[in-house]
Symmetry: C2
Subunit: 99 residues, 2 copies
DNA sequence: TTAAATATATAGGATGTCTTATATTTATGC
DNA sequence: GCATAAATATAAGACATCCTATATATTTAA
């Protein structure tokens, strides 16, 4: 996800995935579209799917294959993780968005 | 900066440094304290100083040594970078902080 | 002046996020 | 059926962010 400003803006992909899944069940392609709406660029398959695999192996999300797609939902651990991660995120960066 | 939740919460250190410097001139140690207030843990010297060196080499910040400390300020390029980076950050993650 | 504390700096290693490229599986259209 | 498209998956490599450990410079205290 190339970006033009001088400083590196990578990070928090897994957190963003968990946060999106905390709002609705989504498949990989739908996740990519939601991320593109926000970041301006769609994550490449080689970025997104390894992240989903990692979250799945950690037991934070669960994929359910239905035909061509795999729908992801948060596990109980995933729900706890996103709650804690969101609190950390707001505490770390909340003042950047404050008016 | 260890963190207990399941998903990785690294990232945006350089952006956070630029954003803090856009509010006031700070030395490395003062930056570390400001970051600790937000993230809960002080970045280790081996994390912070290489980041400052990198930003300096990119021409986004400028260090002025005065005695024991080095005070950092944004360059013109740095001010432009933080403005653009902030817009990107808000577009990418603003809805996570919305109430 | 010497010792300790503070601030800065560098080296080497681990990991997540990115890339490009390639492969596999399933659905769709002819 | 057969080719194409869509969705998922994996591999290899680059880089920022994190760590621990060590080193250097400057100030402060004894």
């Amino acid at each position: 996800m190339a970006h033009s400003c001088g400083c590196d803006m990578r990070g928090f992909l897994s957190f963003q995935i968990l946060w999106l899944l905390s709002k609705s069940e989504l498949c990989g392609e739908e996740l990519a579209v939601e991320i593109e709406k926000r970041r301006g660029e769609k994550p490449k398959p080689g970025t997104l799917y390894p992240a989903l695999k990692d979250l799945s192996e950690k037991g934070l999300v669960k994929g359910r294959k239905s035909g061509k797609t795999v729908s992801y939902v948060l596990t109980d651990d995933g729900m706890a993780a996103v709650k804690e991660a969101k609190a950390y995120f707001i505490r770390s960066f909340g003042d950047i968005l404050a008016r």
